[in-house]
Amino acid sequence: MSKLRFGDFTCDGVTDVLAVENGRWAISESARKPWRELNHHLHDPVANLFIANMDQDDNIDDILRYEVKDDEEQLGRLVIWWRSKNGVEPWERFAVTLSSHNPNNPFQTSLLFGFVGHFRPLSGGTLTVDYDRIGHFQILGARPELSLFPY
């Protein structure tokens, strides 16, 4: 099952199966049709991908991933979210969160992690949790928001 993921990539409200097939992302519509290529270029293993619709103007799921890297200005670490819109487009930068780790702060954690979800009535978004345990919500067309409490 780790080589399969699930989402609606055809805008019909029916769940499709996503996998890497013949070296590219491919879907089986409603789990009943043969594989067909979804993306001409991308082939990231699906186990670490996030699937949710980020757009208000369509009903097609997007594919996302995030990476954690050092900030070039040494201000902390960046969590960078990448999105393939509808699973068919190349990776594009979707959201970035900067977090600074202070080893002398016992309340901080050593973890940065992320989630996706339907965090607005009409669209989805990403949630990045920083070293201070605060959630950063990033949603297209909306101002970034923070959780009102540390997790």
């Binding site: 399969l4 769940t15 789990a31 043969p34 989630f115 339907h118 965090f119 949630l127 009102l148 997790y151």
Partner: protein
């Protein structure tokens, strides 16, 4: 309580107080599920299973709210909208492998379906819940089907609402590796 300090509760002395370690021997920080709506407001919430209790944070922004007492942890659980309301339900499997539902994450466990035949239950680790009826274009949020991948690569789908509807083979091992 001393109003000049930040603490909500101050321990005045240690008499008759027993301080124990984390009894579940686990750290569930960051182990959340983020794609289900427990308060029915149309916005996904964060779900947390500590090993002894379940909690949710409305839209991920608000404080943890108690749902239930259960030792089931995130790895043991699946989520979806299995009954007739807009609140997320929680699924697990019993020791006998039967699928059990906690409606809204707050109700006691009960069998997801009372009348399924023996053998209808598949290991949850090989199951995904979704909407797999190609003729149902209603875009409802309701979870209607279970998808099962056998060890040999075969795919099977079962309609949840109809006890007479057995697992339907939808894909072969050669076609769907």
């Amino acid at each position: 309580m001393d109003s000049s300090t930040d603490e909500a509760i101050l321990l005045d002395n240690n008499e008759n107080v027993e301080i124990k370690n984390n009894i579940t021997k686990t750290d569930t920080y960051s182990k959340y599920y983020s794609q289900c709506d427990f308060d029915g407001d149309g916005i996904d919430d964060l779900f947390l299973a500590t090993g002894t209790t379940w909690w949710f944070s409305s839209s991920g922004k608000f404080h943890w709210t108690f749902l239930n007492t259960s030792s089931k942890q995130l790895k043991d659980l699946r989520f979806g909208y299995f009954d007739d309301d807009d609140r997320c339900d929680v699924i697990t499997e019993s020791d006998s492998g039967r699928w059990m539902i906690s409606s809204g994450g707050t109700a006691p466990w009960k069998p997801l379906e009372q009348v399924w035949l023996p053998g209808a239950w598949k290991p949850l680790k090989d199951v995904w819940f979704g909407r797999f009826d190609p003729n149902d274009l209603s875009r409802s949020r309701r979870t209607t089907h279970a998808f099962f991948r056998k060890d040999n690569g075969e795919w099977w789908v079962k309609k949840l609402s109809d006890p007479a509807f057995d697992w339907e083979y939808v894909g072969g091992a050669r076609l769907f590796r």
